[in-house]
Amino acid sequence: MQQLFKAHKVLICVGSGGVGKTTLSASLGICAAQLGLKTLVMTIDPSRRLKVALGVDSSTVKPVRVPGQKYSGELWACLLNAEEIFRDFIINSSTNPELAQQLLKNRLYQQLSTTLSGSQEFTSLLQLTKITQEQNYDLIILDTPPAQHAIDFLEAPEKIRALFQDRVVRWFVGEEEGSSFIQKIIARSTHIVLSALERITGSTFMKELNHFFATVRTVQAKISERTEIVQEILHAESTGFLLVTGFDEAKLREAEALFGYLDSNKYHLRGAFINRAFVPALRPLPAATEPKLVAEYAQWATFYQSREVFFQDFTEKWQARVPVVRLPELSQDTSGLDGLEVFAHEMGSAYTQQNGHNNVSTNHKPGAERVQPR
């Protein structure tokens, strides 16, 4: 993993909800710190136990040094609080403090800063750019918000930037009109569309909307500037994407769609982790075993074996490009920093093994013995 860590300043863990992104991000952080790097893990909404393990709570927006660590490097962690980051950003980047205050009080803005509109995604990237520019860490690992689809995460900044762009603002506050023939036609259709909007929403909404766009101007310049930096960082050679996926047909299908998306949008994909892919404890039992226990074993073994089919398809398709790493289902809970270290160790060795396998590109054929992949 050393190579992976050394080649990157930022690693972003993407994947759909419930696949273990947060735990994986934290474990990656441990691996990196063990290899001597000063590492920051930026997490969103971790479990109570993970918070305890990392020594963070909801009030720690600033990075804290994770307590109880004995690494040659350093492990730091922070929580991302969308509302707070957004508010700080507005206040710090506004050209007019009074307008900034008005914007913060605007009720449409308040709706905008809830989780629905992608503000969590947007703000975590805002924070990433800020911390990257401060250059306090060798490596930053970013956990991404629990979105329905991981693609939302990458599209959110552009969505929000588009809303704040000058053309949109001018259109809504009615400065697009001119006197040329074309402009008049545009103005006419604008009028129809705006009055349609008023008919479906009502005049109070329109007033609030107008106020929103009038005050938004104060942060407009900074928003476009920051979104550009976000895109630069996301596309940099030193920023790697790691895909985390669950181990069933639907999750793998989603993962594949995401793979394609990252690829066609020129993000640098550096690895895929399939979480809970196998159970190390499932190995064939000796012939003389009690039949009841054999029956129980067969049930589990067949189950994991049947999932192998999906995994094989996925692996064959992608392993020529990036390491595809399978992580074990660990039945003991990964609690505390010790528990995370166990998981981190498993992950580190699985990655190294798979990466080597990848480099020599031997092709394993699927078979019955593949239930236990080692």
Binding site: W171, A196, L197, F303, S331, Q332
Partner: protein, 301 residues
């Protein structure tokens, strides 16, 4: 206040990501349909999962899968379009509205607009608003916990924001439907694991506090072993074989972990239901087996 059609029932299925919401939602919908109720299973979002499961195209308009059982995919834009058309009624203006580049940008990013439209569609049968939605049950395979609560908060937020005007009025009515216990019910799916259990308990109290709605909790993938812990321990004591020891260890840890998490859940919600771990990797087989599985009451654990 009475609504135009109080015979329809909306069932929301939510829970942490990865707990099997979709499979449980489909199993519940299939069960209703088999019992003779005309049932619509609704997926939210841009992409259909059930399309792959049932191998039929799933679109905005209901697709009939089997008698009484239909599936729809409702995403924000078509719901909003339907809503706008219902108010404006002139197709040309509606087209102009949705083709306008700036309006598109606005709709893509505007907070709560699409969410309101989706909830408007979900509750439209009860309110008899817009095109008819002739079903006994609407089963929603909804977003995961955090996003789901944000979705439910949207109508109230919008109603508070714009008291006057059509959108304020609609928002108020949608919110009212969501709070009516005889019209909407909520099911939280969870797993016998730490994180899903704590998220389910938290979500349940948020639903009670903010929506005045209780929810049934369904613990999915509960492993029902033919062997008792005692049996497994017996086998373990009688062997020197590494593989056997590891496997029995695995079984014991699974059973113990499960017991801990189920009792955690039980202390908060004694009445929760369970569904068995289905040893299959095929989506449809899992759904069909879940549909047939008996509701094991928590008391059995």
């Amino acid at each position: 206040m009475g609504f135009a059609n109080e015979n329809q029932r909306i069932v929301f299925i939510t829970g942490k990501g990865g707990v099997g919401k979709s499979a449980i939602a489909a199993a519940i919908a299939q069960k209703y349909a088999l019992g003779g109720a005309k049932t619509l299973l609704v997926e939210l979002g841009e992409h259909s999962y059930f399309e792959h499961v049932y191998r039929r195209p799933i679109r905005y308009e209901p697709t009939e899968i089997k008698p009484n059982f239909y599936i729809s995919l409702w995403s924000g834009e078509p719901c909003l379009r339907e809503y706008v058309f219902h108010l404006i009624r002139v197709k040309k203006i509606v087209d102009l509205f949705f083709e306008n580049k700036i309006m598109r940008t606005f709709i893509r990013a505007a907070p709560a607009l699409k969410e309101l439209a989706v909830l408007g569609k979900i509750t439209s049968g009860i309110r008899k608003w817009g095109p008819p939605l002739d079903f006994d049950y609407i089963v929603i395979d909804a977003f995961s916990s955090g996003h789901f609560m944000a979705l439910l908060r949207a109508p109230k937020g919008m109603a508070d924001l714009i008291a006057a005007g059509p959108m304020g009025e609609q928002s108020r009515l949608i919110d009212e439907v969501l709070r009516r216990t005889n019209l909407c019910e909520f099911k939280i799916v969870t797993l016998p694991e730490e994180l899903p259990v704590s998220e389910a308990i938290e979500l349940h109290s948020e639903l009670v506090a903010e929506m005045g709605q209780s929810a049934e909790i369904i613990c999915n993938r509960v492993y029902q072993s033919a062997l008792s812990e005692g049996d497994v321990k017996g086998f373990q004591a009688n062997t020197n074989d590494r593989a056997t020891r590891d496997f029995t260890d695995f079984l014991l840890r699974t059973l113990e972990g499960q017991k801990t998490n189920l009792s955690e859940l039980k202390s908060a919600h004694p009445g929760f239901e369970t569904r068995p771990f289905i040893f299959s990797a095929q989506g449809l087989e899992v759904i069909n087996q879940l549909q047939l599985s008996k509701d094991h009451h928590a008391a059995t654990f």
